[in-house]
């Protein structure tokens, strides 16, 4: 049996306290409940980006893996966006890293406010963010990415009493191939390729890799099957006249 006094929980307590979490054993709490709470809080902490409070890369990868399973089974359309702050290095170089951090935080906050509760927003690294949007119809993808881009572009970040900074982002997006169990690497690569396209087209814009069009409309089907209608109408005639009819149908 584990005895609480035997455990060295100081480091864990300090980490949680630093994140604003209650890390002390509560009066009405059993040792088991307390330990479970500490472990849960540490897990939560391990998935969070300390600067922005968004999910970190570990969190992002786990969420993306889950989405691939969902898409493979349900065929749901899920959009992945990769977002990168334009010319971020020059913000850091001109105004200092503290100002850069403030911009990162403000944009992170703004992104989190742009999406639905089911969506996952994460800091992918440096000045790059990622957003996973389950159940996002292909028709809406570009409009949605555009809306996010515009909202960020309209942001004014106060970094000192006299200075407000503005920043723009470039966005690349890709849908998971429906009904197919793809890989996170391929999916990220496709979104990254679109981000690269957005950057090379001049930044401050969104590019989306549209999903492979697999639907065949009723009109298309009608045309595809017109030869069958002819076959059924004249099951015993197979003269060349029919062939001509079909070709011209």
């Amino acid at each position: 049996m584990i005895e609480l006094p035997d455990l060295r929980l100081d480091d864990a307590s300090a980490l949680l306290a630093h994140d604003g979490k209650n890390s002390e054993l509560q009066r009405d709490e059993s040792p088991t409940e307390y330990l479970q709470r500490v472990i849960d809080s540490l897990c939560e902490l391990s998935l969070k980006d300390p600067l922005t409070g968004l999910g970190n890369r570990r969190h992002f990868h786990a969420a993306l893996e889950r989405q691939i399973e969902t898409v493979a089974r349900s065929g749901e359309s899920v959009l992945l966006l990769m977002l990168d702050i334009d010319h971020f290095k020059s913000i850091n170089d001109t105004h200092g890293h503290l100002a850069g951090d403030q911009v990162l935080r403000a944009i992170a906050h703004c992104l989190a406010g742009c999406v639905r509760p089911v969506d996952t927003v994460a800091r992918y690294g440096g000045e790059e963010f990622a957003i996973i949007l389950p159940n996002c119809r292909p028709l809406f993808g570009l409009a949605l990415a555009e809306r996010i881009r515009r909202t960020v572009a309209g942001l004014s970040v106060p970094v000192s009493p006299l200075l407000n900074l503005q920043a723009t982002i470039s966005i690349g997006g890709a849908y998971a191939p429906e009904w197919v169990r793809s890989t996170t690497e391929l999916w990220i690569e496709r979104a990254d390729n679109q981000l690269y396209r957005a950057k090379s087209n001049g930044r401050n814009q969104a590019c989306i890799d549209q999903p492979q069009e697999l639907s065949v409309s009723a009109e298309e089907k009608g045309l595809l099957f017109s030869h069958l209608a002819v076959d059924n109408a004249n099951p015993f005639e197979s003269g060349p006249g029919n062939v001509t009819n079909r070709v011209n149908a």
Binding site: K89, T183, L228, V247
Partner: protein, 278 residues
């Protein structure tokens, strides 16, 4: 990512993907399963071999391969062992009845039904060493548009789309052609209509597919999609007989209507894409 204009390069394998496939690689594919891809691959290989070509058929339906069943071959060493480094490539190539070579996937390939960068790399490595040694390499792919199928098809210089006259088969063939055109900028796709009910009906179906594509699929002006009707294979009881007996039809009854159709398909390929054997 740094805000510099460097293409994303976290995938070091990307550069190895050849832009233009080397040599004559034919991908036999279909929209729907069960329309006779493997039957066509094996028997077309035999027909080409009979006409003097050095042919290899590669079981590229990694997850659900059944070329072994069609050829009645159950080798100890398969592509799986090559992928996992347990055997050399030449150890996995075997002679098939019908005078061509085969490389079978093996049942352990289920784990390769996902296109990971390892699978992509191994596949490329195998293809790069195979292609120079044969006049024709036929990839017997899976059905539909899973990423393994699309990848296998992307390695081919020619796409042979197999369909039957049934509405479901045609719809899926049409949907797959749309994806191939959109994703791989294919301009020519060769169509084989299997189980054609009467002479000439296959060409009419291909024509129909072409008309629907022209009307509904928008491509650049310089990249129209062209479906080429490669030929029909008629409904023939000998085909079923051969499949049930696990024999290669081109060996058992090469003179039957389906056999003659396959010989004609081989000839049509010689006229269009494969140089005639010396």
């Amino acid at each position: 990512m740094n805000d510099v204009l460097t293409p994303p390069t976290q995938n070091p394998d990307a550069a190895q993907v050849p832009l233009k496939p080397l040599g004559k690689v034919l991908a036999v594919t279909s929209g729907k399963g069960g329309v006779g891809k493997t039957f066509v691959s094996a028997n077309l290989a035999a027909a080409l071999a009979k006409r003097g070509h050095k042919v290899l058929v590669l079981d590229a339906d990694l997850g659900l391969a059944n070329l072994d069943v069609v050829l009645n071959l159950y080798p100890k060493i398969t592509l799986h062992d090559v992928f996992t480094g347990k055997a050399r490539l030449d150890e996995a190539i075997l002679p098939a009845p019908g005078g061509f070579s085969v490389l079978l996937a093996g049942s352990g390939m289920v784990e390769y039904s996902r296109l990971t960068s390892e699978v992509r790399n191994e596949f490329l490595r195998v293809m790069n060493s195979l292609v120079p040694n044969y006049d024709v390499v036929i990839l017997d792919t899976g059905a539909g548009i899973s990423d393994v199928v699309l990848f296998a098809v992307s390695l081919a210089s020619e796409v042979l789309m197999v369909a039957t006259p049934e509405p479901t088969s045609l719809t899926d063939a049409y949907a797959t052609i749309k994806v191939l055109v959109g994703q791989q900028q294919r301009q020519i796709i060769r169509v084989i209509i299997n189980q054609a009910t009467r002479p000439g009906s296959g060409a009419a179906i291909t024509n129909q597919l072409q008309q629907v594509l022209d009307r509904f699929v928008v491509t650049g002006l310089n990249q129209p999609i062209r479906l080429v009707h490669l030929g029909d294979i008629p409904v023939d009881p000998e085909v079923r007989q051969a499949i049930m007996r696990r024999q290669l039809m081109m060996q058992a009854t090469p003179g039957c209507p389906a056999g003659m159709a396959l010989t004609q398909l081989a000839r049509n390929l010689e006229d269009s894409v494969i140089p005639r054997a010396a």
